[in-house]
Amino acid sequence: MLILALILIPVLATVGIYFGAPAKLTALIAAVANIAASIGAIVTESTFNLNVLSTPNINLSLGFIDGMSIVMLLLAVIVTLAAVISGKCPEGREKLWYSSSLLISAGAIGAFISKDLFFFFAFHELALIPTFLMIGILGRGDRKEVAWKTTVYLAFGSIILLAGLVMVGNEIGYNMENLRALAAENQNTAALLLIIGFGTLVSLFPFHSWAAPAYASAPAPVSMLHAGVLKKFGLYGLIRVGLEVAPEGMKHWLTLLLVLLVCNIIWVGLVTINQKRLDLMLGNSSVMHMGYIFLAIAAYIGGGTTFALQAAVLLMFAHGISIAMSFSLAASIEQKTGSLELNQLGGLAKNAPRLAFYFGLVGMASIGLPGLANFAGEIMVFISGFEGWNKADGLGPVQIATIIAIWGVVISAVYMLRAFRNIFHGETASRTENATDLTLEEKFPAILLGIALLWVGIYPQSILQFLN
């Protein structure tokens, strides 16, 4: 039963906010309560089952199928707490602002703890609605255009994904605990539908161009929750469903997947270098980093072991934390200086040394500095890329993709250090002259997420133990 509370707490909090409860406080309490409830549910291995339909057999069935669900849940509740404290809510919009964050969180959590394909899909769809609303109503810049584009894009992905899931459901049922390989003749089709469906939701090249503008436009909590948590739904699904139901089909499309993920890293990486605004740069970098997680999945398909999948999950967690922290701090930079244009800033480290420290920390995490979580994930991914290598055979496609992908490590250092240099180093610019440092409240998300990055970076077993 406890596990049902994970969804009910944010939903009830939303209802409370709707009926006039103090929005921020309620959201904060819900986020903290959800962390406690998660720990309780994990420790007690709580489950919940309610039959909704008998033919086809659909159940509201919640629980942890394996450690991957636990890790994703932890990611979701940590980022949710950071998200409800991040950003600056425009006056009078508290209801929409905080209830959206809670609903996105509820949807993401629901998807990760569902044991039924129907609800797995439906929870994710539900979480998208407040995402679109927040971009469309409270977004910055060209918000309507961006909201619309994002909606179209994700709906396109969802529908393709839906077709794939229905194929799966019809053949082997909706229970995610009993997934098995589809009949051989269906595998190629199903695998392609799932790769493109899930892939679009994770901004797999060439279905990626919605992501950066969406994150740049969306209010900070939404970017944090979507890029950090909700987007991982596609990768989670690909591992959880795709690899189980269509192992041969995935092998069939391996080369395609490798080409696309290399484009994610190199092509989008170059696009990222070319960004002049911090928020667009971070958005693109998030797209780029998805390539590494796809690489782990591809390495598994191409002859890797569970090491590759654990690498993928660890990196999903690490990236979720780090991108959420980046967006949170970017919002702070904008609040303090009124700009995110890289060439308008400079010397901010003098007036805001703490902001510089935390941004430096997360910047170093995202370019894979050891000691921080992302490195542990990335090095595991690269190792898994060479797992299937036989020294007598020369390099196979997975190894070649891995080698090209490692160049991404240089690319991300280029844009991140350039951004850090332009914002924090050098002489103070007019916009940074009167900037102040982070307040205690603004610091909180950075401290929370920063500790998570360090903790997992130094002691990755804290996450990996769930996966063994």
Binding site: E125, I129, I159, W267, L270, F307, V409, R421, H425, G426
Partner: protein
Amino acid sequence: MNPLWLLFLLPLITSVVIHFVLKQKYASIAALVGTISTGVTLLIAIMWVSGSFSLPTPYEWIKVGGNSLEVGLIGDQLAKGMMIVVCGIGFLVHVFSLGYMKTDEAKARYFGNLSLFMFSMTGIVLASNFIMMFIFWELVGLSSYLLIGHWYRKATAAEAAKKAFLSNRIGDFGFLIGILMVAGITGTFMFSGMGNGAFSASDGVLMAAVLLVFCGAVGKSAQLPLHIWLPDAMEGPTPVSALIHAATMVAAGVYMMARFFFSIELDTVPGAQVIAWIGGITSLVAALMATQQNDIKKILAYSTLSQLGYMVMAVGLMAPEAGMFHLFTHAWFKALLFLGSGAVIYACHHEQNIWKMGGLLKKMPITAWSFIIGTAALTAVPFTSGFYSKEGILHAAEGNPPLFWLAVTVAALTTFYMFRLIFVAFLGDSKHEYAEDAKEVSPIMWAPLAILAVMAFASPFLGQLIPANDFTPDTGFHMNFITVCSIGAFVVGFILAFLLYKGKESDPLANNKIMKVFANKFYIDEFYAGIVKWLQDIVAAIVHFLDEFIINGMIVGGLTRTAQGFGNLFRKHIQSGNLQHYAFLSGVGIVLVIYFTVFH
């Protein structure tokens, strides 16, 4: 807990305490804490050499099934000796910094980052496996970045820090692939598992793996073509240049190659010739550049490049012990020269141009004489440490005449540019009022110089402190062909410097066209700047354009417009606000799910 873990934990905890507890408010305490902590690690390292500790159980960092990545220690003489270099010079640099950085407005940050460096460097030296070495390899990159950028408000320092990090990253790209290939070939990341024939595959594969691993050294030890970051790194405080960018971190590339070559236990390593030549060419090109620099630190920086080239060449000639021996002697006398230049710069009100110095021998005799001793060692005057180690490298090159004569030429050039420095900066008359006012530095600064000056003679005789396995240095004086070449090179270089620079007020070679090429560092920086501009800006702009207008514009745009058409149709009929508009497509998804699952 095994006391050897303190080698890691002390500097790490010190760094954390300085950064987060003491801060600038208690900067003087921070400086002392950092210095004492380094002193303690030096003591532990010395006790370790005398054999009183056993190795600790490794920490399992990542463990998945049968795969395990661990943080463990290696305890051969190569590691122990290198530890002495790192802690010994680290301690002296800390002491020197107490004086040099006394009034710096971010003194606490400086000492905190110095401790972070000590921690990271310890990890490279003691790493029992390639992944651990890579971890700390990246961390020294971070501390180097932070320390070069110490005065980050200066644009040149900020740029130099970034350049150092990125150049190293390019090397690490190859290094990481190399590590993965080595692990693929030998089946392990552990150095202890790579010998005994484990490192075997086709020659092409082995050569690729060796050269890719070597890429890491090219970055860290600033070999051609990634040497460009090291001279710029002189933007950092001078004690940092002594510790990180002369004695220890930049030598990590040589150390890593020595560790690797020692581990794979092969008599001939495929690709070693390439390594030798890259080292040789670097040493020559850097020595030529050094002849026309006017900044005292830049001269020493190019000299460091050149000497690192020597060491790399020795490794490539399958004599990594000779390379490590030179690394060892060089570490002490180059730290001496850098700290000496720091004392000079400090005394001359941060003037770094040698043509505005002059006559410093009389003004600051302790600094000047120790600098001259360091110069003697660097230029391989007989009975100094550099003489013995350079001899070892020339021996290694004996079988390869082109490289041998290249090495002899470099030796002559080294003497030439170092005595140019001595004649201009320390002898003659003061050329500027700052040099006129210069006074000897305080004992806290000259004491480390004095100790290092002793080491410039004593280091070859320290036996088991020398970081090389199964190696006894030849510390005898034999008059043979090699010695004649070595001394001959010194004489030629010295006479040229004497004739050209004794008592001169300006550089007589400054207008020579060839010398201009040297002074401008063969225009390599400009060449790279062009390439980087081209690659980054133009290619990235093209990709960005394609992304924006082809993928986004045509594919997505088309999709969006189609959907928008439906949306408008929908909106006209329902007359709704934003909410339905945005929720529409998502809602369609849910409706479809229900339709398919229930009615299919």
